[in-house]
């Protein structure tokens, strides 16, 4: 909190608004236009957090530590991207956290129980994850219920299914190790390997995360579909009135979350060989938090992929930075909450400065 206060005044005060002329709008200053970008607030917050931990935690300065922070950020960040897109499209997915575990369990059990090459399990898990997303979207579009309710339903159902089906099929609450099965090493290379960059071992998820972020950003800002995402989140009725396929856009957004859940699920499976069926609960809120810290509006229609990447990175820095700083762990959650809230406030303050008329 202290650091957020130190850094807050660094942003320039808003320029006085020039008088408007009839039929024309005033030219907005370059600084104002920069501030209006959704990722600027979080970038300022992230720099503040980075500088702060850089100053107080010597270990934080090592390249290895940065790799650890990036790894933590990437596992949240890969999911936060589609969750952010969905949020820009005006919806939530509370089933995202357990959806990850569902996907991992599916792949693991299909491969193990049928003694198949693990790639078969991976493919089946992808189909299942996309289907869950499509179901969420379909229910939302058909019933017109808020996504909070629809996905709360799937969240609970998946939680129950994860446990019950795992127990039914394996007789245990965790899946059997698939580390000695055909295709495991290939799949591990794709989803969970280490790559050495400039002498530092970096998890491959970090590279995937950045690649997905680039794709998400491109889709959002440079394609028709991205335009539709902003429109259905910003004003669904207007979008429908001008011919945007609202149902298609929403359903595919939910399926994108399914894809993210599949990818992170595969990472967990190939990183840890087995999956505990009760995991994942509560992570959906971390994804949403990363997206919101990253500048996405809870009400939809506004946000960015880059901002979400920085949001997840900030989350990773705070969780690991507290350990590097060797603070009393009893206070861990409190620090975490305060820092996230502080960062969000900076973000909010900057956006207010930017959009003030």
């Amino acid at each position: 909190m202290t650091m957020t206060q130190q850094d807050a005044p660094a942003a320039s005060p808003p320029a006085p608004s020039p008088a408007q002329t009839d039929g024309r709008t005033a030219q907005r200053s370059a600084a104002r236009r920069l501030l209006a970008r959704p990722e600027v607030g979080v970038a300022v917050g992230a720099i503040a957090v980075f500088v702060f931990f850089f100053a107080v935690a010597p270990t934080f300065r090592q390249a290895d530590s940065l790799a650890t922070v990036l790894y933590q950020s990437s596992t949240i960040g890969i999911m936060a991207l589609p969750v952010a897109l969905l949020m820009i499209g005006g919806e939530f997915d509370l089933s995202a956290g357990v959806g990850v575990v569902t996907s991992a369990l599916t792949a693991s059990m299909v491969s193990y129980q049928l003694t198949m090459n693990v790639w078969v399990g991976v493919a089946v898990a992808l189909v299942v994850s996309l289907a869950i997303g499509a179901l969420n979207g379909y229910l939302l579009v058909k019933t017109g219920l808020p996504s909070f309710l629809v996905t709360l339903g799937t969240f609970l159902m998946l939680q129950g299914l994860n446990l019950a089906v795992t127990k039914l099929i394996t007789g245990n609450v965790a899946t059997d190790s698939i580390s000695d099965m055909d295709g495991f090493n290939q799949a591990k290379a794709v989803f969970s390997s280490d790559i050495t960059i400039a002498g530092v071992s970096v998890k491959i998820t970090v590279l995937w995360w950045l690649a997905f972020a680039a794709i998400a950003s491109w889709v959002l800002l440079r394609t028709k579909y991205g335009n539709w995402v902003f429109a259905v989140g910003g004003n669904k009725e207007s979008a429908r009135a001008v011919g945007v396929p609202v149902a298609f856009t929403k359903i595919t957004l939910f399926m994108a979350v399914g894809f993210g859940a599949w990818f992170v699920g595969m990472h967990q499976l190939f990183a840890f060989n087995t999956v505990q069926s009760g995991e994942g609960v509560g992570n959906e809120l971390l994804y949403i938090a990363a997206a919101v810290i990253g500048g996405c509006l809870l009400t939809g229609g506004y946000g960015s992929a880059i901002g979400t990447v920085i949001g997840a990175f900030m989350f990773g820095m705070v969780t690991q930075g507290i350990v590097y700083a060797n603070w009393n762990p009893d206070w861990f959650k409190l620090f975490l909450g305060v820092m996230l809230l502080g960062a969000t406030l900076i973000n909010l303050w900057i956006r207010r400065q930017a959009t003030r008329k």
Binding site: W119, V173, I178, D180, Q276, V281, N283, K333
Partner: protein, 336 residues
């Protein structure tokens, strides 16, 4: 029409056959279920005593491997003793108390309960005893089971187990331990670390991780090891976390060894391979088994262990490279 339907059916069959062939082509040559022996668990005859109904109510969080073993032990005893076992659990103390009330309403013949949060359970336990239902304790509540009038208690004293680990680490020559708590605020987990800290002569640090998110557990332990290179022992409080900790150790390039409370199948392999130094087992299967079996004995012969004054300790039992082979095959069956 007839022909087209048949052609379509033929096509469908062909598609399925092709799919099946494709899948067969993808079959794994190693590992998998086919490789695993059929695990039947333990069976010990069948009692001809009248059928009774026993409720086991624990504070298990959904999907925990440890509790799965407790439950399996309880089921094995129930099958043997001609008991209908009703298992239920809720990590929230108030909800767990409700489940006990539910068992009382069902007029069960015996209740086995964990007293992880004893104060919340006090009322309903007394109610059960007033209704004449025998209550036994297991796993949690070693300090309070006598006060609350429980018949007997099966479990491990977490503090004593922690102290035993501390002693063991002294013996192994460790200097700096980090104790990884995967659920902040859980009393028995905190007791374990406190026990370690009490008897361990070197430095003991606590580290809290989010047990719901393995990648987060992994990176947080890695971060801790990077932050302090003098750490030479990571003690986790659950088997899955020990396996993750071994990955953190290699990621951080640390020389620390890993020890853990509690066992599971994969952990037994890790001990065999030497990846995990030792595990301290409280024998959850035994806890579940004895609790149900104890109720059966009390119902049919009036026996109770410990004479109402001392608990039946199921741990700590150390599992290391020397004795792991003996339990490996049981662990493979999912009963250790």
């Amino acid at each position: 029409m007839e022909i087209s339907a048949r052609t379509r059916r033929t096509a469908t069959v062909a598609a399925f056959a092709a799919g099946a062939l494709l899948l067969a082509g993808c079959a794994s040559g190693s590992g998998g279920k086919k490789a695993a022996d059929s695990a039947n668990g333990i069976s010990a005859g069948h009692a001809d005593t009248p059928r009774i109904k026993v409720a086991m109510i624990t504070h298990q969080a959904p999907g925990d491997t440890f509790w799965d073993l407790v439950r399996k032990g309880a089921q094995a005893a129930a099958a043997k003793d001609n008991i209908q076992l009703v298992y239920s659990s809720d990590p929230n103390a108030a909800n767990q108390a409700n489940l006990v009330q539910n068992a009382i309403d069902q007029k069960v013949d015996g209740i086995a309960v964990t007293l992880a949060k004893p104060d919340a359970m006090k009322g309903v336990v007394a109610k059960a005893e007033q209704s004449g239902i025998p209550v036994v304790g297991l796993n949690g509540g070693i300090d309070v089971w006598k006060q609350q009038g429980l018949l007997e208690y099966f479990g491990q004293d977490e503090t004593i187990a922690g102290q035993a680990v501390g002693d063991k680490l002294n013996q192994l020559g460790a200097q700096h331990v980090v104790c990884v708590v995967h659920e902040q605020g859980n009393v028995s987990l905190e007791d374990r670390c406190a026990g370690v800290k009490k008897n361990f002569k070197g430095t003991t640090d606590l580290l809290y991780v989010n047990g719901q998110d393995m990648p987060s557990v992994k990176s947080t332990i890695t971060a801790k090891l990077q932050q302090d290179h003098s750490i030479d022992e990571v003690v986790t409080l659950g088997a899955p976390f020990a396996l993750t900790a071994t990955q953190s150790v290699s990621d951080a390039g640390s020389k620390a060894k890993v020890a853990t409370f509690d066992l599971n199948k994969d952990l037994v392999n890790a001990v065999t391979d030497g990846k995990v130094q030792f595990a301290v087992d409280q024998q959850p299967y035994l806890q579940g088994y004895l609790a149900v079996d104890g109720l059966w004995l009390y119902k049919n012969n009036g026996n109770f262990s410990g004479g109402g004054t001392s608990p039946v300790l199921t741990g700590p039992a150390f599992v290391d490279k020397n004795n792991v082979a003996a339990i490996a095959k049981f662990a493979q069956n999912g009963t250790r």
